[in-house]
């Protein structure tokens, strides 16, 4: 049978599975909006300096929370659900059928990316409707491409991290440990205007800050060019490629303990 067709069909199964658990689906979508609203309530009226002018924090938080949406939908979600399906024996069962395990995992990734993109659309639309954020048209291509690169890279990182998670019980702790601190130091939760140098250096090692900065540039209303950040995109892509290699080499269809 045609493998591409199998993957497409599997994405549909994934989608059905996702919506059949309405509380989980609901909170996946509400979670970023809660952050968007909260941060706007707390910091929304502050003026911030962006390259080319001054605007308020809402213009910072829409791309920041859009970045957070992509990271949680891809990285967090893939890592957690894959650990659960691994522990439940679903991966083992799939491995006993003609469906190649890569097709199953690809479908899981594609579905996560679709959810991530839908979240981005919702966050941006929400920002436009309630916070008067302008959606820049000249940087739209950069914005879309940044989202695509970020989704792909963070999906691969989600796959890679499962190789160090021993079992599903440990998954939330490990996944949150790896990602929550980065949200604080990577211009996602807080717009760090003058961080200590070491913190800045540390944050720059990881991909999250590069993703949020690339998203900011692509969303800057004063940006006159296309809004691409090739250096940041390269770091994100490098992390994605490294993660892909780890995932391919160390992927396991059964729990590690």
């Amino acid at each position: 049978m045609n493998d591409a067709l199998l993957v497409v069909r599997q994405v549909r199964y994934e989608n059905r599975w996702f919506w059949r658990n309405p509380p989980a689906a609901f909170f996946t979508f509400v979670f970023p909006l809660i952050f968007l609203v909260l941060f706007n309530v707390i910091f929304g009226n502050n003026e911030i300096e962006v390259p080319g002018g001054t605007t308020n924090e809402s213009t910072f938080y829409v791309p920041a929370i859009a970045a957070l949406s992509v990271v949680t939908a891809c990285y967090t979600n893939i890592a957690m659900t894959l650990c659960y399906t691994r522990d439940d024996g679903v991966l083992k069962r799939i491995r006993g059928t003609p469906l190649p395990i890569w097709a199953y995992v690809t479908a899981r990734v594609l579905h996560a990316v679709l959810v991530g993109m839908l979240l981005v659309v919702i966050v941006v639309a929400f920002g436009r409707a309630f916070y008067d954020v302008t959606i820049p048209s000249n940087t739209m291509a950069a914005f879309v491409i940044t989202v695509i690169v970020g989704s792909a890279a963070f999906s691969m990182l989600g796959l890679a991290v499962t190789t160090v998670i021993p079992n599903a019980e440990a998954a939330p702790a490990i996944v949150n440990f790896t990602i929550l601190p980065l949200f604080f130091i990577s211009d996602v939760f807080i717009n760090l205007e003058d961080p200590p140098a070491w913190l800045d250096t540390l944050a720059n090692v990881f991909p999250v800050v590069h993703f949020s900065k690339a998203m900011q540039t692509a969303f800057n209303p004063f940006e006159s060019g296309a809004g691409f950040e090739p250096a940041h995109l390269a770091v994100i892509a490098a992390w994605g490629v490294a993660a892909f290699i780890v995932a391919i080499r160390r992927f396991s269809w059964e729990p590690r303990t």
Partner: protein, 320 residues
Amino acid sequence: MTQPAIVATGLRKSYGPVQAVRGIDLEVRTGEVFALLGPNGAGKTTIVEILEGYRQRDAGDVHVLGHDPARHDRALRERVGIVLQSTSLSQYLTVEETIEQYRGYYAHPRPVGEILDVVGLAEQRDTRANRLSGGQQRRLDVAVGLAGDPELLFLDEPTTGFDPAARRNAWELITNLKALGKTVLLTTHYMDEAEHLADRVAIVVHGEIVAQGAPRDLAKGEHAAVVRFALPQSAPALPQALAGAPSANGLVQIETEQPTRLLHQLTSWAVEHQLDLESLTVSRASLEETYLRLTRDAERQAAEVAPPEAGSRRRRGRRR
């Protein structure tokens, strides 16, 4: 004569220092129900998982429907159905959706209606998996194993944890599969199950096959029958010909090759002494007795050969 469905020779597998499978030979004929019996940790699941392609063997030759399962060929997976020990299906999909999903993975799936009939879930077609009883969920597992209309079905402990009625239903299901011409390899630790379902069985102890054959033939290795009864306190000693061993529950137990003759002697003696023998039963030699004797012997041997801790060592996590 068609080719055997499964042929394994000299199969070996170790986990670290623990030898889980120590050189077994196995042949499962096409169209038969074959049962692997043995205590927990004997190596049944390891054997089955090697045949299923989940584990790599250390040594030996294995052919499953003519393929080497270690190569994990897709062509083989098209023809084999696997029902694992623990159920692992989405709780939120209906019975039909679940079966449809797995049918989608095969080039030549079996029609949903037929699968539902074989496993007896036709009425639960639109029920979500989380609303099924334990027995029904297990049937759904089997249904998913049948999605690709396999020639060979692996059933790992299909009825563990079932109540007696659910077990009977499961047996009926396996009988149905045999009627469809499927080859079934099942593992179980219920002797009555093997006796009822299997054409042939192999008893696995400490990673070795200690006996193999039709359940009836294996049982025949024992005495033909066992007579048990309670001897009243006041009774005189039993004559030499009727001497038996006391059994665990205080009954006298006599093993015999000629139950008719023995019963005649026993009851004559009892009538003569005006005794009433309570709880008198005659039971045919069963697979269970053979099994218990063989596993007991093997445990003893293992204890003699190896230091005690090795004898009691269990294979690492059976669900790994």
